[in-house]
């Protein structure tokens, strides 16, 4: 565990230009803020410049996401990557709301840096996070007109859970958060809007602000239970028993919300490796794509991973709602099986945009293939890796068994072995291929289809 956590964080971040609208004399709506350079431009030129700035903002955001995804694929810091993804779903913000995308980059850096620190640091930080404050309209939360949007979700979804606070607590929490705003990606306290009056919430009385609020929430027993339950559900893929939640919540409180200690305890817990948990968790699209790529030994571009996960239902920085993504079995629908099969086909070079026209507005495959055009990875040479591992003279059964052991990442059952073996024999007949498979000129083509058969089977979606 310690080894996994040791790899540095900041070193791998791509250099960021972090363009800010404000620096160029306009906000995201294109209103002038009085910067002479931009003001002096004729309106047509100015709008062109604005468009450029917007595309730079988008571009640097994509660069940033790609840096994260590249790290995942290279396994540089897997535990931190996983936890960062978890916190991104736990404290979701959306690219559809946050127009200044550099705020999302800042938020990501914060979540990543704090992913394994204390939950207290996370909660304190998120209360002052510009993207989060913008996402929940807290910029207009003022003492005259409190907006309880952020306060409500903070209590319900990010700390205590429903049933552990009252409507009065929500209103009082909203008052604590008045004047909490983002400005150019940084936190500011707008004193004119902040309510300096006394608040009474969760049994405490005082002139609280947002930071006091975070501290009060962390002091509630419900908080450790809520966070522990969320983490256990995510790591184990099923709802934990109340007893299990209580035990982990008590540990969390004893360790002052230290997340590294909490994760360490989980990783040493024999119950974490029980039959109902191992291989029973439906992997989310991104996790499935990254782990499948790694096991196949292929290196898709980060663009491929980003658009691919989005195609399969998990667009980073655009979770469907304030509760993030519905994890687990909700990932699998009748159409998502096909989407994963197509994604795998694209990963294996079996599916390219050439020869595929768009069928209509609902044709998301075509849109996805257009997005990753030019970011292709070519056709992986599976025959080469098999030959290197087990030699070219082995029989078909040994090939399939090696493939299952290495590509599936779990013990293959007779169904998968049988189906893949059957597929291989069909292709042999078609090609009239005799002798060892790996010595045949079309060995790689056969193996790519075997990989597709094996990895688009239901068992391949479970981790």
């Amino acid at each position: 565990m310690g080894e996994l956590l040791a790899v540095g964080d900041e070193a791998r971040e791509p250099s960021l230009r972090l363009v800010r609208w404000e620096e160029y004399g306009c906000n995201q709506d294109g209103d002038d803020l009085g910067i002479p350079e931009l003001m002096a431009m004729p309106s047509k030129e100015r709008s062109t410049r604005l468009q450029e700035l917007r595309s730079i903002d988008k571009e640097q955001f994509l660069d940033h996401v790609c840096g994260w995804l590249r790290g995942m694929l290279e396994h540089r810091d897997p535990v931190r990557d996983r936890l960062t993804l978890f916190w991104h779903g736990f404290f979701p913000t959306s690219i559809r709301v946050t127009l200044r995308r550099y705020e999302l980059i800042r938020q990501h850096r914060f979540l990543r840096r704090t992913a394994l620190a204390g939950f207290g640091d996370l909660l304190h930080g998120i209360v002052r996070d510009a993207a989060m404050l913008g996402y929940f309209d807290n910029d207009s939360n003022s003492k005259e007109h409190p907006n309880e949007n952020f306060a409500r979700e903070l209590l319900e979804l990010y700390s205590l859970g429903e049933g552990n606070y009252t409507e009065v607590d929500v209103r009082e929490a909203a008052r604590c958060l008045t004047g909490y705003q983002g400005e150019s990606g940084h936190f500011v306290l707008n004193k004119d809007l902040h309510d300096e009056g006394e608040k009474v919430l969760l049994g405490q009385r005082g002139n609280f602000d947002g930071d006091d609020l975070a501290e009060i929430l962390l002091g509630q027993e419900a908080c450790a239970r809520y966070v522990s339950r969320a983490l256990l559900s995510w790591f184990e893929g099923s709802a934990p028993t109340d007893g299990r939640v209580d035990s982990y919540a008590a540990f969390m409180r004893e360790h002052d919300y230290d997340l590294a200690a909490w994760i360490h305890r989980l990783s040493c817990d024999p119950d974490f490796y029980r039959d109902e948990v191992i291989g029973q968790r439906v992997a989310g699209p991104l996790e499935w794509l990254v782990s499948t790529s790694r096991r196949l030994g292929v290196s898709p571009s980060p663009h491929f991973l980003y658009y691919g996960a989005a195609f399969a239902g998990q667009q980073l920085y655009a979770p469907p709602c304030v509760t993030g993504w519905d994890e687990g079995e909700a990932w699998i629908t009748h159409s998502s099986l096909f989407q994963r099969a197509d994604l795998l086909g694209a990963l294996l070079g079996l599916l390219t945009i050439e020869g595929h026209g768009e069928d209509g507005p609902g044709d998301k495959v075509a849109a996805f293939l257009a997005q990753v055009r030019g970011h292709g990875l070519g056709v992986p040479d599976l025959a080469k890796s098999l030959t290197a591992a087990i030699g070219s003279e082995v029989g078909d059964e040994a090939c399939v068994r090696w493939a299952a052991d290495n590509w599936l990442g779990r013990e293959a059952d007779i169904v998968v072995l049988g189906t893949t073996g059957h597929r291989l024999q069909e292709m042999r007949k078609e090609l009239e291929a005799t002798g060892p498979l790996l010595q045949h000129s079309k060995a790689n083509e056969v193996l790519l289809h075997c990989a597709h058969t094996m990895l688009s089977s239901p068992i391949a979606h479970l981790a």
Partner: protein, 414 residues
């Protein structure tokens, strides 16, 4: 409310008069309730789940009420843009199609729908509405899961209950009766060429059957395998049915319109679904909601309008009832961000040829509010579900909702 079912076009006055208080109180069942045999009446149900909290005051606009205009300085519909219903009520201009349908007698709106002790959290409210149990109890199995077992106990095919959209909804959940869930008809196919040997495979798709009969399996894997098998069977059929039918109306661009078009095509082709489900939204506009809320409403109005137009004159149109509902409404007064916070009572839209059209239920008071400053409900949402189960589908709602709900006479016209 003793008005009988009527097929004639209602007058303005009738539309207005349809409104009256209809408090429906649940009566808890004591002891065991004897099951009543259910005969299948062949009808279908289309459920539209309006996500995020649907604002009743933007649907039936009280355009003569100053409290409305004072509470919503930026969000209210200007008087000159109101589509009139009667002297006191009107509709926002983005609901153009629905307004026309309402006046033509093809729709009913039930105002002030809610339930006791309603939470203001989406998460919790979703769970309560999707469970539809007494005392706001929440269970894993959704009310549609229980409904299908009650009405069609022998039909275990997933397509009996079909959701069109990317994410599976909670109300359809059932531990032993999975429902069909797909994004679009085009998403039900794989483009991967089957490679060497493809001719012998007869173009079989990449989602392999791989059934594990006779094998010891963990739950999740066998569920995924069942999903794969159903996909293999249903995908070609759905794509064929949708491709074969030419839509008789133009649908708005976007997920909702496309999904309604798919549902119309399947309804009109005799596909094996009896309950269709689709979601629309989000209506959760906490800020500068006006423009964005209007867009979502417009898409809803156009989507429903196209759907009804598309099915006009078909057997399917006579045999389907569309019910659109949300987890809660919005607050009366707008907040400082020019949006509205979570509320309580919200309206339910129904579309069908047998219902008594018009606006039902009293307009909620804008001054007599609940303790959170929200509109009080006058109709329990479970009473509406009960009426749909009994009067439309010919079932016994007590078996599904586990309590008895009284509902007004007019809804029996279904």
């Amino acid at each position: 409310m003793n008005t009988k079912a009527s097929q004639h076009q209602p007058t303005r006055r009738e539309v207005l008069l349809a409104g009256a208080s209809l408090v429906a109180a649940p009566v808890a069942l004591s002891g065991v309730c004897l099951p009543r045999p259910v005969t299948d009446n062949g009808r279908s149900l289309v459920l539209v789940r309006l996500r995020g909290g649907y604002d009743g005051l933007s649907v039936v606009v009280p355009h003569t009420n100053d409290v409305y205009y004072r509470g919503r300085p930026t969000l209210s519909v200007p008087k000159k843009e109101i589509l009139p219903i009667d002297d006191e009520r009107g509709m926002a201009p983005e609901l153009e199609q629905l307004h026309a349908i309402l006046l033509a007698g093809g729709a009913s709106i039930i105002q002030g729908v809610g339930y006791p002790n309603a939470p203001l959290s989406h998460f919790k409210a979703d769970a309560i509405i999707d469970s539809a149990l007494p005392d706001n109890r929440v269970e894993d199995e959704g009310w549609i899961g229980r409904l299908r077992k009650h009405l069609w106990p022998d039909n275990v095919l997933p397509e009996l209950v079909t959701h069109v959209g990317p994410l599976p909804p909670q109300s359809l959940r059932s531990p032993d009766r999975p429902s069909l869930c797909f994004d679009t008809p085009l998403s039900l196919r794989s483009l991967v060429r089957t490679g060497p040997g493809a001719s012998r495979l007869g173009g079989r798709s990449a989602v392999r059957l791989q059934s594990g009969e006779g094998m010891r399996e963990h739950d999740m894997l066998s569920r995924l395998r069942n999903t794969g098998q159903a996909t293999e069977r249903l995908a070609p059929e759905i794509r064929r049915l949708v491709r074969r039918r030419k839509p008789q109306a133009e649908y708005p661009v976007g997920q909702f319109g496309e999904s309604m078009g798919t549902i119309a095509a399947l309804l009109d082709s005799g596909f094996g679904a009896r309950v269709y489900h689709v979601t629309h939204g989000s209506f959760d506009s906490h800020s500068a909601g006006c423009a964005c809320q209007a867009d979502v409403q417009r898409e809803f109005s156009r989507g429903i309008g196209s759907f009804l137009e598309d099915l006009k004159g078909t057997h399917a149109a006579q045999n389907c009832l569309v019910v659109c509902y949300s987890e809660f409404g919005r607050r009366v007064s707008e907040n400082a961000s020019g949006g509205t916070d979570h509320g309580a009572a919200s309206p339910i839209w129904m579309f069908g040829q047998k219902l008594l059209p018009g606006i039902h239920g009293a307009s909620p008071s804008l001054t007599d509010l609940d303790e959170n400053g929200n509109l009080k409900y006058s109709v329990d949402y479970r009473a509406v579900f009960a009426a749909v189960i009994d009067s439309w589908l010919g079932g016994d709602h007590r078996q599904v909702l586990r309590a008895r709900y009284d509902y007004p006479e007019w809804i029996k016209s279904l």
